[in-house]
Symmetry: C2
Subunit: 149 residues, 2 copies
């Protein structure tokens, strides 16, 4: 069980935008540089986030990207879903009851339980928290730099 890099990068990009909330807007290039994500790869990531309505460049194409909602209204699971369909740890528990065994399989409850737990956790964390945490880390870093002068 691994999280793919698009989702990971996507979350990092969104943290960057959350830190800029209420600010000037950010260009793809800026995000790419600050988060050290390949500029071209970021193309796809931004595209997915935009399609899902999580970000927008509402003040014209050259205004930079902004979050489309308040950071506290965007959960990590929202971002996750921009890159993958709704979390489904195994196919057995699909909405369409994909697995013929599911009705008589003790494991299917297990999958449901785990699946819900993960979604719950991802949904309980929003970008506001993450941005604050990141800001604190960045500041600590700047201070640390000062002491080294």
């Amino acid at each position: 069980m691994k999280l793919n890099t698009k989702t990971r990068y996507g979350i990092r990009a969104m943290i960057e935008l959350a830190m800029d909330w209420g600010g000037k807007g950010m260009f793809q290039k800026e995000i790419s540089e600050r988060q050290e994500i390949s500029y071209k790869y970021l193309d796809h990531i931004i595209s997915a986030l935009k399609t899902k309505g999580l970000i927008s460049n509402v003040d014209g194409k050259k205004s930079g990207y902004r979050l489309a909602k308040k950071p506290e209204e965007i959960s990590v699971y929202d971002i996750y879903k921009a890159f993958e369909p709704a979390l489904q740890i195994v196919d057995c528990i699909g909405e369409h009851g994909e697995c013929v065994r599911a009705k008589n399989c003790a494991a299917s409850d297990l999958w449901c339980g785990l699946n819900n737990k993960i979604i719950e956790h991802l949904d309980s964390i929003n970008l506001s928290e993450l941005a604050k945490k990141q800001q604190a880390l960045n500041q600590r870093d700047e201070k640390a730099d000062m002491y080294y002068i």
Copy 2:
């Protein structure tokens, strides 16, 4: 994020063996038939479970497989680890501190939290529970069959 089929099949095979706990032992063929898992594929699954010491055929090769421990002493996470290394949802949080950004990255806490939650959940469920649940399901099924006569 998906669970691979080996782990899934592995858990189903283990439930079958847990239901046989204290019983006659089960041949690969029996497990394969009861759980509808390809006989040859099951080769690899059984091999992994054996290597990890979760099952054994202690009374000689032709005695069938048995759980090597009591069902209540085998957690789902134990089985998981027979097929994958310790759960690590992203490489960032490896023991060797794989990601150079981790120290100053707000997301790394997120990964740790999620990772622990999943492990905790998988570790909280043991084969005894699952076997009981499966037995109940099987019985319910037999009864249902009777009513149709």
